[in-house]
């Protein structure tokens, strides 16, 4: 192994790329898009056009300092601090720009982040996560970071910091439905996950105990997984619709060809593969000597399963659940197409009205939700894998 040279004088490649991108973005790309009303065509405005010269210069200066830190500073702590300052400054500049561009009392004007603003936020978020990853925080710390970020964002929105932004205008119009669709989104994602765990875990155990069953089961589940989600929704519409027409009790339960029923069933079917496969793999990895010893000492079959095999397979099983949850949160968006509800409702409404802000109102919470669940469940897997293997 060659000794690594002292890190201080090295140029960080990722940092160089991202730093250059952020400087370019602040110099040449539009910071905000301005529209006289919701359907008017937008005009791009640069940072220096929308903020007083001094303020704009300060913002640009800070962006350059953050970029320099990304390129030349080795300490992950400093890089993280720089990135966080950068994100805060850009967000505040955006809020200030929106406030400046909106005449008092005007509810028609629309100000949304421009390409440059998005690039800056994205680049600095990447720098922050990269620095965070280099710090290798433990699972507890990662969840704490997530909670802190959530709290800061919540406070910013609660204080009305971004109220003049176009996306928040859309939110203000849809506030009532937003809460309902959010609840529906989470319900669809977790409900189908719960059902998949209830069915998939015993199925995984069965596949582990009966090897002949395993290949066939996994093949069928694999096949289901390859059906595109829209097609699967479509396929389910026919029998469910027929069931609802034929059986009044089913209709009373809320079953119909469109709506939540086919969505939940489709998500459940998609979720089965990761749950079953991970349960089988996890159980297969349990030390045969431990299982032999357990049986030899007089644990019953059920005790061997619940006290030895399942606890030892748990990290792998939860990894499967994590995959399903993140996958489900994304897929639920598509469920809106067949009237299943969720954040996808805004996305498809927005697409229909060519209102990009409405699309974002659906898309951004979906991404945030998926990301947060991934962080929390990853931390859980970490905690469980630390119990010695």
């Amino acid at each position: 192994m060659t000794p690594t040279p002292p890190p201080l004088h090295r140029i960080d490649r990722l940092g160089a790329l991202l730093g250059t991108a952020s400087i370019a973005a602040v110099a040449w790309l539009p910071f905000v898009t301005f529209k006289a009303n919701r359907i008017a065509s937008g005009t791009a405005r640069s940072l220096f056009e929308v903020l007083p010269f001094g303020t704009a210069l300060a913002v640009a200066g800070i962006v350059v300092v953050v970029a320099a830190a990304a390129i030349g500073v080795a300490s992950p702590r400093s890089r993280l601090a720089a990135a966080i300052v950068g994100i805060a400054v850009v967000a505040l500049a955006l809020a200030a720009a929106a406030a400046d561009l909106t005449p008092p009392g005007n509810r028609l004007v629309r100000v949304s982040p421009g390409v440059g603003c998005w690039v800056l936020l994205l680049v600095q978020a990447l720098l922050a996560t990269d620095a965070l990853a280099r710090l290798r925080p433990g699972p507890g710390l990662r969840v704490l970071c997530l909670a802190l970020t959530g709290a800061v964002l919540y406070a910013a929105f609660a204080l009305g910091l971004f109220d003049q932004l176009s996306i928040m205008r859309e939110y203000a119009v849809n506030a009532g439905t937003f809460a309902r669709e959010a609840r529906q989104h989470v319900l669809l994602a977790t409900g189908s996950l719960g059902a998949a765990v209830l069915v998939g875990l015993p199925l995984g155990v069965l596949c582990h105990k009966v090897p002949r069953l395993r290949a066939a089961t996994l093949q069928v589940l694999n096949l289901i997984q390859t059906i595109p989600s829209i097609a699967l929704f479509g396929i389910l519409m026919v029998p469910l619709g027929a069931l609802a027409t034929a059986a009044p009790w089913a209709r009373e339960l809320g079953v119909s060809g469109i709506g939540a029923a086919p969505a939940v069933i489709a998500l459940f079917l998609y979720a089965l593969l990761p749950v079953v496969a991970n349960a089988t793999v996890g159980l297969g990895r349990v030390s045969p000597a431990a299982v032999d010893a357990a049986r030899g000492m007089g644990l019953t079959g059920r005790q061997v399963l619940t006290q030895i095999e399942l606890p030892l397979a748990l990290p792998v099983i939860v990894t499967g659940i994590r995959i399903v949850l993140v996958q489900n949160i994304g897929l639920v968006t598509v469920a809106a197409l067949i009237g299943g509800g969720g954040f996808g409702t805004f996305v498809f409404q927005g697409v229909g009205q060519t209102a990009i802000d409405l699309v974002l109102l659906g898309a951004i919470p979906t991404v945030v939700l998926a990301f947060s669940s991934a962080v929390v469940l990853d931390a859980l897997v970490d905690v469980m894998s630390r119990a010695p293997q």
């Binding site: 030390s287 299982v291 032999d292 010893a293 357990a294 030899g296 000492m297 007089g298 644990l299 010695p388």
Partner: protein, 311 residues
């Protein structure tokens, strides 16, 4: 007393254990030896019914084992295997407490038993009870494996190559521990090994298996002096059989009355060691000393040599 009666195991057309009949006295150590695939593990595992026999039966103290539900039967029989099979997600203390917990012992009794066993195996409870198996050395893991098998004071202990993965020094220590514990608790031990020295050292009786059949079941000395089958002599080895035979008798057991001249040897030393001593010092006789320092008699070169002959 464990009685195996015509015990047989077949997988499809192949017979893996073929009509084995044998009686194991309570409080003795029986070692099963044989080449790989000869059915040693299968025979052992039919005793606690980890493998169901295809024919024949097993009686423990006169009771047919098939009359008891398997899990209850196994809780009364200690079981230790190669690679120890410790539960990686449970501490050393919890591992040892496995069977006592299944039997519903009180927490205080379990605690006392875990501490007692850890001390017997020279593992300080305060230091080791809360550790996880992966934090122990191989030798320590193996000791915990045996301690766990002994936790509920079983009258019978089954061991499948328990010391197979240990280096020679640790293995010698583990064997001595086993002998001490077996004497202390009077446990009936049935042990499978590949190591003939281990078999001769530990076994009151040795069972030789070949291709599923029991070829001979005798005390170690008889295996050397009266092999029932050419395979038995091949397995025990003929080149140093006289020395093996001498190693089975201690100086104390063989001492003749009278006071001897020549070097003094401890009564616990084997005749093989005394012979080596005499060859080394050029003497023709030795004085046997008890551990308290009193003379126990004498041994002559001719007397030792006579004991190294068949018959």
């Amino acid at each position: 007393m464990i009685q195996l009666e015509s015990l047989t195991k077949q997988y499809g057309p192949t017979t893996v254990v073929d009509g084995v009949t044998l009686a194991i006295a309570s409080g003795s150590i029986t070692v099963i030896v044989g080449t790989s695939g000869s059915g040693k593990s299968t025979l052992l595992r039919m005793i606690n019914r980890l493998i169901e026999p295809s024919g024949g039966r097993v009686l423990i103290d006169g009771h047919d084992t098939s009359a008891t539900p398997v899990h209850l039967l196994r809780r009364k029989i200690g079981y230790a295997i190669q690679g120890h099979g410790l539960f990686p997600h449970r501490t050393v203390g919890e591992n040892i407490a496995t069977v006592p917990r299944l039997l519903g012992w009180s927490a205080a009794r379990i605690q006392a038993r875990v501490d007692e066993l850890l001390r017997i195996f020279q593992l300080e409870p305060a230091e080791f009870a809360a550790k996880f198996p992966h934090q122990l050395s191989g030798g320590q893991q193996q000791r915990v494996g045996v301690a766990r098998a002994l936790a509920a004071e079983p009258a019978v202990l089954l061991m499948d190559e328990p010391f197979g993965a240990l280096d020679p020094i640790i293995r010698g220590k583990a064997q001595q521990d086993l002998l001490d514990i077996q004497r202390r608790f009077g446990t009936t031990v049935v042990l499978v090994t590949h190591d003939m020295d281990e078999a001769f050292h530990l076994g009151d009786h040795v069972a030789v298996m070949s291709q599923g059949r029991l070829l001979q079941y005798d005390p170690p000395a008889l295996l050397l002096t009266r092999p029932a089958d050419p395979f038995v002599s091949r397995l025990t080895g003929t080149a140093d059989r006289s020395l093996k035979l001498l190693s089975l008798t201690t100086a104390g057991e063989a001492a003749e009355p009278g006071v001897g001249e020549g070097p003094s040897v401890p009564a616990a030393a084997s005749l093989r060691e005394v012979l080596s001593d005499l060859v080394w010092s050029g003497a023709t006789a030795a004085t046997v000393m008890r551990s308290d320092g009193t003379p126990a008699g004498r041994l002559t070169l001719a007397g030792i040599l006579a004991r190294g002959r068949a018959g």
